[in-house]
Symmetry: C2
Subunit: 159 residues, 2 copies
DNA sequence: ACTTTATTGTTGACATATCAACTAAACTGT
DNA sequence: ACAGTTTAGTTGATATGTCAACAATAAAGT
């Protein structure tokens, strides 16, 4: 059997820095830091909060479970995040008339103000990041991500 | 100002599913789940533990700070992870003769056994994932990730 | 020599993620 | 009408990530 000769040589001639899943992990982490700082400084909100606000939208109202589906966040996590956001006055909830189990969630005036301010900034940021890529890279990274996602969901490779 | 008309429409005509950083977040998360399950089932170790073992290598010995640099993990986190791994008998430490501050970390016999078993499996997994990509996509995703990483580290876009 | 600074690793505090148990309400099928 | 099942959301337990304070040692500057 062949064995990595030195720390972080994942394959005989492939240092860990060139292992795809590792790269995704690293870049994801840095993008996260970047987004969090950016949001913190421009709007004083957390990344998780921004995603939730984006799910709700400035006018609309949604429910917990819709948000969960949309941004694929754990419902427990969401419940706690929303609690914080209500305390901060970003969102408000009211019980649904027709289904006593669910709540309609919407932005408060303050939440809307922040949303309107933040959306174009986040768009600019996205343009800045994507602007670093060529057309080819841009297309390729999306289709590559799609394929990786499918492969990761595929149980074929899970014992 | 233009505003998303509906939940999760990040840009006028761009649903959140097509926002690059969001896609990276999602795919990363699924790859993480996949890797964790895979490691759990094949070797009974956690992803963080595998990364650490990979940093140490089967023969070599390293220090905390080297591992931190290598896999970019927090030193506090690493300290705790190693404590667990020592309890589980995967790694051992001994004080460095020349520098009383640092410890030399190496795999135990058991750790080596698991490492040797796991490395080829993880390579296979990587091949499986990367095998889903075309040559073009493969090249493009790496260069795209590099550029995104640079852009994210760039402070130009941080207020 | 000796004061200052930098590095190594541990620990505490706190935020975030993941998973599972639980209650209440709504739906389903008989 | 009503037993069984599903769905909505809350809460608890536990793991992981992030950040800062700290003690011990080493290295650098004077």
């Amino acid at each position: 059997m062949t064995i990595a000769k030195h720390p972080a040589e994942f394959d005989d001639d492939t240092p860990i820095q060139e292992v795809l899943t590792w790269r995704i992990h690293q870049v994801h982490s840095k993008l996260n830091v970047h987004a969090s700082k950016f949001l913190e400084r421009t709007s004083g909100i957390a990344l998780a909060q921004w995603r939730i606000m984006l799910s709700i939208g400035p006018e609309g109202s949604t429910t917990h479970s819709e948000i969960c589906r949309y941004i694929a966040v754990d419902k427990g996590q969401l419940s706690r995040s929303l609690k914080g956001m209500i305390e901060e006055g970003l969102v408000k909830t009211e019980n649904d008339e027709h289904d006593q189990r669910q709540q309609n969630i919407s932005l408060t005036r303050k939440g809307r103000r922040i949303f309107r301010k933040t959306l174009p900034l986040m768009r600019q940021r996205q343009s800045f990041l994507v602007g670093a890529l060529s057309k080819t890279e841009h297309k390729a990274i999306f289709s590559a991500l799609n394929k990786l996602e499918l492969a990761a969901e595929n149980h074929e490779f899970l014992p």
